[in-house]
């Protein structure tokens, strides 16, 4: 049975989005992306290294024609910086689908929701399709949705922490009330975390560090692919009810 994942009217088969940062080299990045089965990858916008022009570039390893590039605003701490970054990304090749991330604190990398909401409004007016990294606060995510975000991406835990989903109840509440896709972005540490996100009903998961910093990133990418599929299927299958006491699995009649 087909289970299509739709963001901003674009259809995808994989519900796993992967980041392309923190890898040893572009070859490893490309191999991990391939193993993950992801059809969307996040990318950052940075200055070209003028002095070392022979350095390899990401586009030579991940073809933007065959995989959806999702430009991000990682490292931006104000609406102004984020808008500048995404406008440049759009100029580079017409990217309208973008990931907005406006941070508020260097230590926790926690999002600044005031600047985030402000930026979302401007970007939507300018014709961008904005997937928004945000706190796991249902009031804030509702505001983002009202501002025109095409996907809500609450954190499970701080970026790069690998702590897993800290507030399952909030993620569930956010999913229940949202019309646009909800994607857990940040905090996943290992495969079971990704499965939990999907079992909670989320539409997708965005993972970078948990794959890139695994001892074997390619194997972890493969694990994440299956973790997301398992979680999604378990959610769709609708799990059994929990009981306080045991319930035998074998019939109790005709015992010898």
């Amino acid at each position: 049975m087909e289970d299509i994942f739709t963001i901003a009217n674009k259809n995808f088969n994989s519900r796993l989005i992967v980041g392309t940062g923190k890898y040893k080299n572009f070859e490893e990045t490309a191999n991990a992306v391939k193993a993950s089965g992801a059809e969307i990858v996040t990318v950052a916008v940075r200055r070209v290294n003028i002095l070392n022009k022979d350095q390899p570039i990401l586009m030579d390893y991940l073809d933007p024609k065959s995989i959806t590039y999702l430009p991000n605003t990682a490292g931006c701490y104000s609406s102004e910086e984020a808008l500048r970054t995404l406008r440049l990304a759009r100029e580079m090749g017409g990217w309208r689908l973008v990931k907005l991330e406006v941070l508020g604190d260097k230590k926790t990398l926690y999002p600044n929701m005031i600047e985030t909401i402000k930026s979302t409004e401007v970007l939507v007016k300018e014709g961008f399709e904005v997937m928004v990294y945000c706190t796991d606060d249902p009031i804030m995510t509702k505001k983002l949705e009202d501002s025109g975000a095409c996907a809500i991406m609450p954190l499970g835990a701080p970026i790069g922490s690998g702590l897993g989903i800290q507030n399952k109840m909030n993620i569930k509440l956010i999913k229940e009330q949202s019309v646009v896709p909800v994607i857990v972005d940040a905090g996943v540490g290992t495969a079971s975390d990704a499965t939990i996100a999907m079992e909670l009903g989320c539409d997708g998961v965005l993972i970078n560090t948990a794959i890139a910093e695994a001892k074997n990133p390619i194997l972890m990418a493969y694990a994440m692919k299956h973790a997301v599929i398992a979680g999604r299927k378990a959610y769709k299958a609708e799990r059994m009810k929990k009981r306080k006491y045991g319930s035998a699995s074998s019939p109790q009649s005709n015992l010898i």
């Binding site: 980041g19 940062g21 890898y23 996040t42 990318v43 003028i50 991000n72």
Partner: protein, 72 residues
């Protein structure tokens, strides 16, 4: 030493010397940068690709050339 034929611009945060009258296309050519893989800002304003040829750089212009790199 002042050379009347050259001008200093700020390129990605560093001082960079160009010949007077250099346009953006020429600069990219010299830097061996493929235009379809970058975006450019001059003095804070994004320049559309079809305007590179006509944009002559002036002394003290701030040029930012960016591209995509790995990121989460």
């Amino acid at each position: 030493m002042n050379n009347l034929n050259v001008a200093k611009i700020q390129l990605n945060g560093d001082s960079y010397e160009i010949n007077n009258g250099t346009n953006l296309s020429k600069l990219l050519n010299k830097l061996k940068i493929q235009t379809n893989k970058v975006a450019i800002e001059v003095n804070g304003e994004i320049i559309e690709r079809n305007k590179y040829q006509n944009l002559i750089l002036n002394k003290d212009d701030k040029v930012e050339i960016v591209h995509f790199i790995g990121g989460g």
